[in-house]
């Protein structure tokens, strides 16, 4: 990176920036300024960020440069900028979860993952847009703004982590944190040409993530390369006593798995193609181009030495209805905390109205339509007389889905599918049809319900738009996702002569 230009910086991977910063070829202030300049020039079009504090970012970068100049021992990520989805609570930095009900709130503490990234010396560029309380697949449910897909600014960037996906794809951040409840890391990564990984449930602390569906929520990396995803994942993983569902096991070795995978040898790896996710008799609603790229990528796995077979997981057919009962039920309970008393806004407190009335007005004006729909649906599914038929039944279907995975692991090391049935759709196309919006999550929901890790890696274009390939692995075997994804990435990069994102035509700039 000698004679670095701002364009070089914003086209670099985080791993490259890390190396350049450690060797002293560039300073963090220079890197951070290059991103801030690009945000200033382009985020008016993209709309990825809800909040950017240039002064704070430059101050943090300056502190890293000064520490390095003093010869202090710094970690590999020190000075590398990043973006956080606005669902991550950050001390003193506005945090809204995409909702008006938290407008103006500055949290008094850091989420565990934010604290870990701060301690690692990363530089926070800003907070990214999202569907309100992470409910959505297009980021159109944000109370604040529309975010546009850098590949085609008339299209959605996926969701709910669409601000993070758009920021990384547009070069407005080298990498970003997203959260995934039913696919909210993987689907936006797929439709913007990124790598996105949902870790094993319980392996990344949920402390300080504004809760949507607590039995499903997981945070993870959204990046330009598989190696970057592994490095960012390692930085946020590990047991946290502040999260009672945190798994007390060693931080997984993921970057090594990615480097090994990039060698390209998958000999002996047993891969299962899930019939129910786009296979024979289950292709309704899938773009032909998505299925074509998927089939080519499965063939590529075989050419790298993997043994591929079809695997049937019949209960996956019911993942969507089970998810859209479980997640709204948990949400209706979790969002009860927004009562206009302890944080956020309060509406209608005129001295005459009582607490119930003020609470109902606050929530009515503070929540958007999708959040209200899910609270109402969840309240219904949990109510006496319906509980067994809906919520109880969905929890049992969840058991069947987990059993399908367990049975599959007897025969295969990983399961694969398309990440999303379609490429990015046009902004506005599905906003009035919740059921159509939910169908975007068809392929990502099973791994969420079972709590197993799953990664999305780019696998080509359909109609000029990115297609994602999903690799699912057993709980705590996240390293397999990284190994397989890295092998695919390396083989595809070699075949096309450049990285996937470098192939973005008609970039928005």
């Amino acid at each position: 990176m000698s004679d670095v230009t701002a364009t070089d910086i914003t086209a670099s991977t985080a791993a490259e920036l890390s190396r350049a910063l450690q060797s002293g070829e560039v300073g963090s202030v220079e890197v951070t300024q290059a991103y801030l300049d690009r945000i200033a020039a382009q985020d008016g079009t993209i709309g990825a960020y809800l909040h950017v504090d240039a002064d704070a970012a430059l101050a943090a970068a300056g502190a890293v440069d000064a520490a390095r100049a003093r010869g202090e021992e710094l970690g590999p990520l020190a000075g590398v900028p990043l973006a956080l989805k606005d669902v991550v609570v950050t001390e003193g930095v506005p945090t809204t979860s995409g909702s008006k009900i938290l407008a103006g709130w500055r949290p008094p503490y850091d989420a565990t993952l934010a604290a870990r990234l701060k301690a690692a010396g990363t530089v926070l560029l800003g907070k990214t847009n999202m569907d309100e309380f992470a409910m959505g697949s297009s980021t159109e449910n944000s109370a604040y703004q529309v975010t546009r897909n850098p590949w085609d600014t008339d299209r959605i960037p996926g969701g709910s982590s669409g601000g993070s996906s758009a920021a990384v794809a547009a070069g407005l951040a080298p990498w970003a944190i997203g959260t995934d409840t039913g696919g909210s890391i993987r689907q936006p990564a797929a439709v913007t040409g990124l790598v996105g990984h949902k870790p094993t449930y319980g392996s990344v602390s949920r402390y300080g993530l504004i809760a949507f569906s607590s039995s499903l929520d997981q945070a993870g990396p959204m990046t330009r390369t598989v190696l970057d995803a592994a490095l960012l994942h390692e930085a946020i993983a590990g047991h946290d006593p502040l999260d009672s569902t945190s798994i007390d096991s060693p931080v997984p070795v993921l970057a090594e798995a990615a480097r090994r995978g990039a060698g390209g040898d998958l000999s002996g790896l047993k891969v299962g193609v899930v019939t129910e996710l786009g296979g024979e008799g289950h292709a309704d609603g899938y773009d032909p181009g998505v299925l074509a790229r998927f089939a080519e990528t499965v063939a590529l796995l075989e050419s790298l030495g993997a043994e591929v077979r079809q695997v049937s997981c019949p209960a996956f057919d019911l993942a969507l209805p089970a998810y859209y009962l479980i997640a709204p039920s948990e949400a209706s309970s979790n969002l009860a905390r927004f009562d206009g008393v302890r944080y956020g806004v309060r509406v209608g407190d005129d001295g005459g109205r009582d607490l119930d009335e003020v609470m109902a007005l606050t929530r009515e004006q503070g929540f958007g339509p999708e959040v209200k729909r899910r609270i109402i649906l969840g309240t219904y599914a949990l109510s006496s007389g319906y509980y067994e038929a809906y919520y109880g039944q969905a929890q049992k279907v969840r058991t069947l889905i987990t059993r399908d995975f367990t049975t599959a692991w007897d025969d295969v090391d990983v399961l694969v599918s398309p990440t999303s049935p379609t490429v990015a759709w046009s902004i506005g196309a599905r906003v009035d049809d919740p059921v159509a919006m939910y169908a975007a999550d068809l392929c990502t929901l099973p791994a969420s319900l079972a709590g197993v890790p799953a990664i999305s890696v780019p696998c080509g274009l359909s109609d000029g738009l990115p297609v994602g390939f999903q690799v699912m692995a057993p709980a705590l075997a996240d390293d397999r996702c990284y190994r397989v994804a890295a092998a695919l990435e390396a083989a595809q990069d070699a075949a096309r002569g450049h990285t996937f994102l470098a192939g973005m035509e008609n970039p928005h700039s």
């Binding site: 008094p108 302890r342 219904y380 059921v435």
Partner: protein, 105 residues
């Protein structure tokens, strides 16, 4: 909800009742919109009823864990004024809330 309607239906009145239970002061326009949309959603999610789940235990959580304990030791918490700074209304070092009881109660 004293007289549940047949499974798979969600009437406008029921949506209004559920909104009240959820402390949402929804408008008439929203009720019209949500009733139709939620009927379609309910139709989709009711598919879970197709599964044969006799003798299947429910999964509440992806990681089977119960009673996670820690030592019962007092730890520092956030300072009161820091917490109250984020509240919509505070008074005398406490959250200030609208009245809870009516005049007659």
């Amino acid at each position: 909800m004293s007289t549940p309607s047949p499974k798979g239906q969600l009437t406008r009145d029921e949506v209004a009742h559920l909104a009240h239970l959820s402390r949402l002061a929804v408008s008439d326009e929203e009720l019209d919109l949500f009733a139709g949309q939620l009927a379609a959603v309910l139709d989709a999610v009711a598919q879970v009823g197709k599964a044969d789940v006799a003798d299947v235990a429910p999964t509440t959580h992806a990681v089977p864990m119960t009673n996670v304990m820690r030592a019962d030791v007092a730890r520092p918490s956030l300072a009161r004024d820091v917490v109250l700074a984020g509240a919509p209304a505070a008074e005398d070092g406490r959250f200030r809330v609208p009245r809870i009881l009516g005049e007659e109660q």
